[in-house]
Amino acid sequence: MSEKNILEMQKISISFPGVKALDKVNFSLREGEIHSLLGENGAGKSTLIKCLTGVNQKDEGKILLDGNEIQPSGPHEAMELGISTVFQEVNLCPNLSVAENIFVGRQPMKRGGIDWKEINSRAYELMSRFHLDIDVTRPLSYYSTAIQQMTSIARAVDVKAKILILDEPTSSLDENEVQLLFDVMRDLKAQGMGIIFITHFLDQIYAVSDRMTILRNGHLVGTFDINELTKFELVTKMVGKDMDVIFNLQRAKVFKDADYMLKAEHIGDISHINDISINLKKGELIGFAGLLGSGRTETAEMLFGATRAVKGDIFIDGQKTQIRNPFDAINADIAFCPEDRKRDGIIGDLSIRENIMLAVQSRKGFMKPMTKAEQTELADKYIKLLKIATPDCEKKAGELSGGNQQKVILARWMADNPKVLILDEPTRGIDIGAKAEIQRLMLEMCTEGVSVIFISSELDEIIRCSNRIVIMRDREKVAEIDGENCTQQDILKIIAEGAA
């Protein structure tokens, strides 16, 4: 690894309506270096990458490639400049052959036709450089995700890239495939390529990178050599402490002899979660802590039937219950506020009234409708109770602010009187005031006997609210600790190092 910088991004700022996504962030990449880019969701990693590849335009700052200022207007131009990106989702054509995928758009020609011999032999050569001895004329879909991933890297590398960006390339790979990918990355590094590596798996960062840059809430936390930080320090820097406001909240009181409201025993789904057990008492609040991708959301989705559990048993209120889809879950009195509010929660074009009545109505079925008066009464009740800021209940839900949308979704489920409420990142992306409000509501529901599962990336809010904390790491439950006598340090330690 030389000390020469091939890429320098200086004081990059980007604003989106209402948010400063990046605030004067510096980033540099050396020749022959694997540089990890870290940060929680919304920290600004992808915005930085999109700025580099020209998808988003920067408001201020400079990008220097080999000392020359560049301003790529889109991914294509970035690629021509030598910046190639491999995205998390493989974006190739599964029905074309491996060789065709590598050369599509720039096929070598011979006598007015495509030179297939050249394509196939060069593709084979490229793949064997990655120690892959495969038939490159077979369709891409014939091969595993790992090989598909390699194909997109091969494509990126063959366009004579100076910089390769790998955006979460490992999330769909198994252990061996990850090792294969790492070998390829080290090879490319030896050839002098600069690699930007984005991942949520901490072990992988330490296995392969030379340096790392940490972002938090659009700010640069710092760039460090890999030996400079322990995993523990790294996690602390990533999560940070941005909650200065101290809320006067009372943890839910759970009676020792309370019955179990929800018991999940050894449940697992097809792809993500292998085996997890969760117990939840009546009126209890358990927090799910762990980094993004640690399996928090997948577990919650399984409990709600959004993804189907293929093994294990779920007991609700002592009764063994089949949960095959969300409808079953709703009938079993489970409610779920999903992580991605826009995609999975709010129905933007419908009014607040319709959004709130949805869960109640879908449990009844459409043949037993609530009258508009009943719906309005229900909606008005929750608009008042949750202090949703709106002139009336006929406003489109999509026009509300993030915090108010979250309250509408919460109202949808509160109206359904659930016994178990699962909240996945209910406080993300909303302002401090609304955050406090939602936490207060959550705890109030606990005192009324509702059991709550609370997923959050912000540890202090987990610690503040939870009776018990389940800690997840690499898609497994690694520890379950008492919520009242623990500190952020304890949790960070377990997240970073696994259970002691």
């Binding site: 959004a306 969300p326 779920f336 074009d349 419908l350 949805l358 459409f366």
Partner: protein, 358 residues
Amino acid sequence: MAKKNFVLSGLMQSKVTWAVIAELLILMVCFMIRPDFFSISYQPSTGMLYGSLIDIINRSAEITIISMGMTLVIALGGTDLSVGALVAVAGAIALKFLRWDVLTYTTPGDYTVCPYILVLTIPLIVCALMGLFNGFLVAKGGIQPIIATLILMVCGRGVAQILTDGKQFTTGYSPFRIIGQGSFLYLPMPIIITIVVVIAVALFTRKTAFGAFVESVGVNPSASRLSGIKADKIILIVFLITGLLSGIAGLIYSSRIMSNDSNNAGLNFEMDAILAVVIGGTNMSGGKFSLAGTVVGSLIIRTIVTFVYYFGIVAEATMAFKALIIAVVIILQSEPVRKYFAKRSRVREAVLISGGER
């Protein structure tokens, strides 16, 4: 005053308003060219009211009925291309049951071979099942609606041909004639059937939560699923309804000509129905729908056709003329134009309000 203007601004932004305005404009032009355009007279011989307006509503019956179903399909974010073919299927089955074996019953006359109840119900059942087949491909197979319904659009007419051995049957059975040519309460029967269908669909979607569920799935399928809505069931029902309504339209159509016509019955009906829905203000990307708007849309399409017939525009130019007017209507409804007018009326409001305060 200010309040009234707010209402005006809301109306200006609504697509339905523009559809109504367009319809009125076309009618005004008709009235200017032919002052007797709006006259309605009673004809004792048929027991029916007679006039251009009645004729427009009567002739729009098939499209209006089909587009009730199409509105729901489009609200789900899909399209149903098979409706025209189902019209042909319904006609073929009805005529098959009326005549059965043409070799034995060689001349058409005032008779039916199979019981009349079968003549009416079997076509409707078959069309409903074909709709269900569309729905099954979409809901369970995850096939895009436009592709899934393309199957029946292409093979539906083939099925109709096979059922009637490629022949065109005619009939003189008088109870069958009533559907398309009879009258009730001085109005042509198709108008009565249309009114019943429109009211039935409106009640089913708006008096139950079905309409809200359709809109919800159309806007955000993922969030709807996580709210417990069984999207599959909704999709199946919507396509079934559309199939059934196409069957009803098919019976009306074949009763008008007292014959089946596997090649031309319902030809391009899918396009007219989609147009009616879009002109009526329902967005092709799914979501909020307006049945009233669709009715107006269907009337606009028919008014244009009538206009062309009445004013001696050469037959060859009919399609081009129709396209021209529809283009104007759709541009009038487009987002920028509506915003422009809404903004203008808001500016006027602002002036009025500030003027009032002073």
